[in-house]
Symmetry: C2
Subunit: 223 residues, 2 copies
DNA sequence: CAGACGACTACACCTGTGTGTAATATCCGT
DNA sequence: ACGGATATTACACACAGGTGTAGTCGTCTG
């Protein structure tokens, strides 16, 4: 599968700065990364960063836009390609972000990059549409909602990369780590943690709670 | 289920500062949050923050320690309680973190709070141990690995709270949002996206790839 | 060739913020 | 009541880093 990353040498200065910013923001976070550091990593002066992007915030916005555009490209490209060999589309999309994963993780957790997430949800929906056709029982909720939560879950591993790697005892970018992760995902995605009966029962319990006034859960909602 | 949060009024100044720091770090991030801002939120002078915690970093460490200790307490408490009414233990543990969720999300994504994650994995393992007894076929991977990935997935929704809420069209802390989310989780956790046959086939394919020299995947591992 | 414009640099400025210090208030044991 | 520890404050320092300005170089165009 194609990646978003590009070779640094061929890039224009503007692109090199954006690339460096993506990496620095990802590694150190937006605040801790400095314009001077980004400039140095890109091999330019700090003034040039300002010249091209105006401000640090605008530079970050440009980074977001770049990733969104890249995801769009990737999405259309995937639509044309043969079969999804991966467990789910989000996982493969994520893998494609390559060195920009840390940036993406930070941006998403901070509530930024909403269009990017929504695009992924759209991809998931598309995937679910096909899966729903082979499904005997009616879904519990509409496709959008399931795609949203599914997308989030698919992002979990890249978001928590370091912790997952530690738990698995292998770097996820290594062949061994990737293999182990794939096997685990296969196991999880083929073994529901709830039986249909248990799920139905819990669902009924949920509806009962919902229809009960003075629900104890609501008493904590304030802040 | 119990929560970690405490009423602000009764707290000692030190605890109030820690509480305010947890919230400010969560809302604005570690760098952007200021000691002066935390002090103001806690109703004390900025000097007192330094007096009690020494430095900003040390304050953050104290926040981590506090959450870890709280999780421990919660864990033992849960061990004594009757039945887990939630879909999975991570989700309920997460719900318990209440107003500190944003802090936790940032800390985890930045690779911090490893002991906290590991503790959650341990809880998941415990839960899996029981689930494995009712399982006919042998798992694809050891329990630790599955618990790790499962923990990550369970954390996905709180980590991406804002995006999930947007996709679901409801605030997750509202009764409606929580209900919708629970229903979706029920659906997902009772409907595997892979049939046992498909999983077995993909697993076999994975093993085949693994044993193939000059695996195309490895050619991208550098950088 | 002249002028203009964009790429790019060097440098000064200034605010925000973590940190250090000294002084004051409050509590507690004897 | 007294002395010391602890809690708490006010204020000054230092510096990092975003921003602003002016200037140089190279290239294109008429």
């Amino acid at each position: 599968m194609a990646r978003i990353e590009a070779e640094p040498e061929d890039l224009t200065a503007r692109a090199r700065i954006r690339d460096a910013a993506l990496r620095q923001f990802g590694e150190h976070g937006f605040e801790r990364a400095t314009i001077r550091g980004i400039a140095e990593a890109a091999g330019v002066s700090s003034g040039l960063v300002r010249h091209h992007f105006g401000s640090k915030e605008a530079l970050r916005d440009a980074c977001d836009e770049f990733l969104i555009a890249s995801l769009h490209r990737l999405n259309e490209q995937a639509r044309a390609e043969p079969a999804p060999t991966e467990v789910n589309p989000v996982a493969s999309a994520q893998a494609a972000f390559g060195p920009y994963q840390p940036y993406l993780a930070r941006a998403l957790v901070e509530g930024r990059a909403a269009p990017l997430f929504d695009e992924m949800v759209r991809m998931s929906e598309q995937w679910l549409e096909e899966a729903d056709r082979n499904r005997p029982d009616p879904p519990f909720a509409d496709r959008r909602a399931r795609a949203t939560v599914g997308t989030a879950m698919g992002l979990a591993v890249p978001l928590l990369q370091q912790h997952v790697a530690r738990g698995l005892g292998a770097d996820l970018s290594s062949p061994e780590g990737a293999h182990l992760l794939a096997v685990v995902l296969l196991d999880i995605h083929s073994h529901p943690i709830l039986s249909p009966e248990a799920a139905a029962e819990m669902r009924a319990a949920l509806e009962r709670i919902r229809d009960t006034p003075t629900d104890p859960r609501t008493r904590r909602s304030a802040t």
